[in-house]
């Protein structure tokens, strides 16, 4: 339980604000943060980079047999989302019917409940993606 708490706490900047890194040498944008740039192998300190949260569905699948803590959402769709800034990110989709998800669907980041650890444990929040809101 204690290790679980520390793990979630350590990831809060990524989970709440989509904070990754940008390579100071080749300007490659990374999510999640890494010690070494996967494009140019630069291993100098990487400055934080906050992603816009906008992107599109690159690929997707629907989960019918979820792990513990995710049962109340099932069946749900997990997607590889291609962010505007480049990286691919794996995340659950929300506010969309599973059969309405298509490759290329424009999506945006929202913060939602990822999982709930029973009636007494933590509520874990983090990023999911939903179809971009129509604002016209």
């Amino acid at each position: 339980m204690t290790i679980e708490i520390a793990r979630h706490w350590r990831l809060k900047s990524q989970r709440y604000q989509l904070v990754g890194e940008v390579c100071p040498k080749c300007s490659n944008k990374m999510f999640p943060p890494r010690d070494v740039c996967p494009e140019c192998a630069d291993d100098s300190a990487q400055p934080d980079f906050k992603f816009s949260g906008r992107g599109e569905v690159y690929s997707h699948t629907t989960v019918h047999n979820p792990p513990d803590g995710y049962q109340e959402m099932a069946p749900y769709t997990v997607a590889l989302v291609k962010l505007e800034e480049g990286p691919l990110i794996t995340a659950q989709l929300t506010d969309v019917a599973n059969d309405a998800v298509k490759i290329g669907l424009p999506v945006e980041m929202v913060t939602r409940k990822l999982s709930t650890q029973g009636d007494e444990g933590l509520i874990v929040y983090g990023y999911k993606f939903r179809p971009q809101l129509a604002t016209a």
């Binding site: 809060k12 709440y16 604000q17 109340e72 959402m73 929300t94 506010d95 929202v110 913060t111 939602r112 409940k113 990822l114 509520i123 929040y125 999911k128 809101l133 129509a134 604002t135």
Partner: protein, 351 residues
């Protein structure tokens, strides 16, 4: 001193709203519990998805307020969340929102509780906090995922949604707080004891001695002290537990339909509790013009009302479209049946 007027001008620097996309029609509730007989208090209500709660609702509203304010979140000196449905009994909603918007670590943060008035309490306090020089900006949020006992009259209206306001100096504000007035008594019209899932209420006692008396007193005193009347306002928004109460209250205060219809969202959204009057105010600000004057009155059971006289400034120009409007969220509508509602609101015993 009944009128509360800050010695330094303060106002709304940014505002934002959020309404979940799921809608449960009142006729669907009537189908299950009354065989479809009898009238229903509203058309439909907003229902949170299984991954939504007061934190996620308040956070999206706060992000929209920040998008309109265009300020550095590090300059926010208070993050206050008013709700009767905080996700944790002990563990602040406000610290999660403060972290997620980038306002931590040097900020005040706290959760507020006063039934449906918890949201406007954060506004009253925020005005004082900013005017007193304690912070450059204060973020006040009202949000709820209200629960009604299955089959109870409240089930038709208990809904989910919220609104957020960033309070700051007058010169940066898109609307100014001219003055406010609070009116509070010990009136037990609605309550929920610790560990109980559903609230209890006094039936018809929630009307005359509670809702109508407190709003009439807070709004009446504010207008009396300011030397104005209903005709001096372009818009009015009242706490909206249903459709009938705010319409009748507005008429008692002397307002006409064209003054209250923009801010009355309960017929299609339901009662968003701590979010209700604050959410209605966002719908008005979405279309307001410089110079417009707005009367906003909350009501919280237990009981009390906060009333605010608000004047829109030239700074509103260009701000309204910087984030989704409240009508955008109302238009984003997915109808669900009672069975889906029961699942999403965790009314099924699973273990």
């Amino acid at each position: 001193m009944r009128l509360m007027k800050p010695s330094v001008g303060t106002g709304i620097v940014g505002y934002g709203s959020y309404i979940p996309q799921y809608r449960l029609p009142a006729r669907e509730i009537a189908r299950v519990w009354t065989d479809g007989q009898g009238g229903v208090p509203i058309t439909e209500k907003a229902v949170p998805g299984p991954d939504e709660d007061t934190m996620t609702i308040g956070l999206e509203a706060a992000r929209n307020a920040l998008a309109r304010a265009q300020i550095n979140p590090q300059d926010i000196g208070a993050v206050w969340v008013g709700s009767e449905s905080h996700p944790y009994a002990v563990k602040p909603t406000s610290t999660i929102i403060a972290e997620a918007i980038g306002a931590t670590p040097h900020t005040e943060a706290a959760d507020w509780q006063f039934a449906c008035k918890a949201g406007t309490e954060t506004i009253q306090a925020g005005i004082g906090f900013v005017a007193g020089g304690m912070a450059r900006y204060a973020l006040g949020i009202g949000a709820d995922t209200a629960q009604g006992r299955p089959g109870d009259a409240l089930e038709y209206t208990a809904a989910a949604g919220g609104a957020a306001y960033i309070i700051g100096a007058a010169e940066e504000s898109l609307a100014l707080f001219e003055a406010s007035c609070s009116y509070v008594t010990d009136t037990p019209d609605f309550w929920r004891r610790p560990t109980m899932h559903y609230p209890s209420h006094g039936g018809r006692f929630t009307g005359e001695p509670a809702y109508f008396h407190h709003i009439a007193a807070a709004a009446g005193e504010l207008m009396s002290q300011l030397g104005c009347s209903a005709k001096d306002f372009d818009y009015v928004v009242l706490h909206q537990p249903n459709k009938k109460f705010p319409e009748r209250m507005a008429a008692i205060l002397g307002f006409e339909k064209e003054q209250w219809e923009t801010g009355l969202l309960s017929p299609t959204v339901g009662n968003t509790y701590a979010g209700a009057s604050m959410l209605g105010l966002t719908a008005i600000l979405d279309i307001a013009k410089p110079g417009d004057k707005i009367l906003c009155c909350s009501f919280g059971s237990g009981a009390g009302s906060d009333s605010f006289s608000i004047q829109v400034t030239e700074n509103i120009a260009g701000k309204q479209q910087l984030a989704p409007t409240t009508q955008n969220y109302i238009n984003r509508r997915t109808e669900i049946d009672y069975a889906t509602y029961v699942r999403y609101r965790k009314k099924l015993q699973m273990q």
